[in-house]
Amino acid sequence: MEVRVDPDRCQGHTRCAMIAPDLFQLDDIDGHSTVTIDGDVPAGLQAKAAEAVRSCPEQAISILGEPSA
């Protein structure tokens, strides 16, 4: 599975980076989030990716594809 942050929806709440600092990095200047991993999210981070999706107040994060085994 892949995880994406919609830059037009992100408002810099920083919740994703709090939950999964290995998956999301925050811009130094405005705190808006980008995904650090290109392509498949490692199995060990998939649950955190899902929690980031559920916790984003702007609903700016989405998951593409199915979790891998």
């Binding site: 920083t14 709090m18 925050l26 200047i29 559920r54 916790s55 107040p57």
Partner: protein, 645 residues
Amino acid sequence: MSDDDERRKNRYDFDRHTPEYRERFEEITAEMLGKCPVAWSETYGGHWVAAGHDEVFALARSSEYLSNDHDVHHERKGYQGITIPTPASEFQGGFLEMDPPGQRHYRQALNPYLSPAAVARWTPVVDDLVRACLDERIETGAIDFVDDLANVVPAVLTLAMLGVPLKNWSLYCEAVHASVYTRHDSPEIVKVRQDQMTMFRDMFAQLTDIRATPRPGMIDALARAEINGKTPPDLELLGVIALLIGGGFDTTTALTAHSLEWLSEHPAERARLSAERGTLLDSATEEFLRYFTPAPGDGRTISADCVIAGQEFKEGERLWLSWAMSNRDPAVFANPNSIDLARTGNRHHSFGLGIHRCIGSNVARMVFKRMLTEVLDRMPDFVCDPAGAVHYETIGVIQGMQHLPATFTPGPRVGDGLDATIARLQVICDEQRLAEPVTVRKDNAKITELGSWFGGEEGLGASEVRAVQHRAVVADRADAGVGGEQVDDLLGLGQLLGSGGEGRVDDVDLRGVDGEHTAEAGPADLLGSVPQAVGVAEVAVDGVDGGDLGRGRAEEAQAAGELVGEAVAAVGVAVLAGADRVREVFRAPAHRGQPGRAAVAADGEHALRRLRRQGDDAGRALLGAGRDLERGQVVVKPLDVGPAA
């Protein structure tokens, strides 16, 4: 039935400014969420109220149909900003009462001061402030968490970030809080308005001063900002400064006070949070934010006819977005009226949504977490007094608290008081230009720097050095001599000792620093076993190899026992640092194959008081401390601390 009546058929008589709304909040919220997640209320000239989570989400993010504009000069459409009802004084509340692009220009100017990276730089300053606030009360066993802590730290930090002299904090603090909690029809309001005028005069003076003689901070950014291609008028800038102050002060105070009150009422949850803070602190913070929602909502004006969340709105209608009620929507939050410190999927609205997301959210979280954890560490058994707790009578503007007295088991001070700390931090702010934006200054504040540590108008001051900092330093510097660039603490001590004159540094010379100090036996385990041991003297002890002291007095010290040489440094530095009692535990370095040790210096208060009177001469006081140690006037007890397994 008219068109308006049809559109407004979901009705609720909503008045969030009454005491009843506070008392019946859960009941009213459940009723609105169940029956009318968007309702028309006739109160305050008539306005919409959005309570449902989905509805608030959809509305708040529709900035193309919603305006925050407060058109105080009647130059546009006459919209009335974010407060319902509109306050009598026609004053624009900064960029929160603006629409893009001007609103965006302001945020772009201020983001580099308030981003997560920018805010993290201030953590050592906040820690020192919190430490000082707690030190003011720690020996008495009684504190008012609002007056003595939660009002103070956010206020001082906000001024520091603005570039306003820290000592002005009290002038701002009470003016802001009292203006929120004082009823507008009470006799006290006259004094409150006077205090507010004093504050505004100072704000204006700061703006003028900074414009003439720039110094870093958000006011400097505002003074230089181009908004919509031009320099904004002063009154508009004052509105922005007032917004930053209003946003920075009362909200974090409210969150902290309510959270501490709840933790006092739920001691098992408090113990769990303290023990599992590594995993629980973030989720608990978000849950407190959700549950208490310090800023309960925002007003808007509909700027174009639209249908959002199934409701038809007309241009010019007023709308209240209730973050507080949407945060209790059972469709999103299981058991919405209970606090679950480990709650997941907590997409609360407490910092608002969309382009107006609270610009200070990163400050609020950081300051809250630092205050909370230091209270948990130093006053772990605190009990709030329900009879003395004063909640704001109404929660229409801020769900806040005026007082929250508590008692706890007294403990020792670990540093200087609030005034001395603020004076010292001012020097640090100035010297390190802490209030620069993150684009200019990336490094964290350094509280341990020599110039600030023992400098400034207060002279000898700090007694706190973060254990983590010098632990890493010592572990990293095998065979390094005195003055290695990377070792601010040790360098500081070396210079301090050297300043006493020739020959006086022998017994605590740092040249024997041993690279074998085991990282795992560091202050972490020491702090774990002795919570109060945050003494500055750790610097000395970590940096001194008791088995490899120099000549002269050190040899005597060695003969008297290896620990003495270290303890000389420990006690001496603690004296210089102003420790009232040398009850800190000082860790001795762990040598090859040996367990770490620590010395507890106790029962020496009289001797130490006398020593401190000579404290203006660092070397002399240190020598004196050593003599007293050797004469047994300061009792030093060896204590096994043992390296962590």
